[in-house]
């Protein structure tokens, strides 16, 4: 049986940096995007990062939402590339890189990684990943997920 603590997030250094840079660019607003790749017994492996727009213009400093229509397009793009959606990322401007009650309530992609970057006064600080674990809405939970940053990998560039 696979232990959840063994399911790491594997991400190339360039993609890791792209996620963090996105948070700095949109500061003081939250950024958001999708992680495409593959999942296996070792965890979620990111191969491409896709930026998404934050539709929460009414409260973009502490909320994010990706339009479903944009998600449909990203999922189609992933399918055509032979990839899956393996996670999402967003930033917390001037707020810790920990999931919030809002993050948890709005998290529905069980098995996916939710990456959060704290952006302090415009500079990316901590980046953490949380695996949404469980079997359904009723028993889901966030588990701290180790992040393995692959400095040697040079995957084709994503949109980030």
């Amino acid at each position: 049986m696979v232990n959840n603590t063994d399911l790491m997030l594997h991400i190339p250094y360039s993609d890791y940096q792209a996620v963090r840079a996105h948070g700095e660019e949109t500061y003081p607003h939250e950024c958001c995007g999708v992680l495409l790749g593959k999942s296996d017994a070792d965890g979620n492996h990111v191969q491409q990062v896709v930026r998404a727009g934050n539709t929460r213009s009414d409260s973009a400093h502490n909320r994010y939402n990706i339009a479903p229509q944009e998600l449909v397009k990203i999922q189609r793009q992933a399918r055509q590339a032979g990839l899956d959606i393996v996670g999402f990322y967003h930033s917390h401007p001037d707020h810790p890189a920990q999931w919030s009650p809002t993050d948890f309530a709005e998290a529905h992609w069980i098995g996916c990684s939710y990456v959060i970057t704290a952006v302090a006064k415009g500079k990316a600080a901590d980046t953490n990943s949380f695996l949404l674990s469980g079997t359904s809405e009723e028993d889901k939970n966030f588990v701290d997920q180790a992040v393995s940053i692959d400095v040697a990998s040079t995957t084709p560039k994503g949109q980030a």
């Binding site: 502490n62 909320r63 939402n65 393996v86 919030s100 993050d103 529905h108």
Partner: protein, 100 residues
């Protein structure tokens, strides 16, 4: 018609990312889908049988909620349905101190 399954629900479709299901309307297609993959039912619908609020259904590029006939919309075998749970969240409160 083909139905595209999001990654979290593929454990209920034997790992398939796309499944082919017959039906003349969206409602019929979903009835047949959950008949073939019964475990999907509680993932997609609440106890009252309503689609869970965070589950978005797209017929090709159209949100089912905004189609005039909604679930009664007729479909062709060349159409595609996409199930896409919502993505949202955020830091939420402003009660925490600024990071150092």
């Amino acid at each position: 018609m083909n139905i595209h399954i999001p990654t979290p629900l593929r454990s209920f479709t034997g790992g398939a990312g796309t499944v082919a299901v017959v039906g003349d309307t969206v409602a019929e297609v979903f009835t047949n889908l959950t008949s073939e993959y019964p475990e999907l039912k509680q993932q997609l619908f609440n106890a009252e049988g309503k689609l869970r609020s965070f589950v978005n259904i797209y017929l090709n590029d159209e949100d089912l909620r905004y189609l005039p006939s909604k679930e009664a919309t007729t479909v062709a075998s060349s159409d595609e349905l996409t199930i896409i749970p919502s993505i949202a969240g955020g830091a939420g409160c402003s009660c925490c101190p600024l990071l150092p």
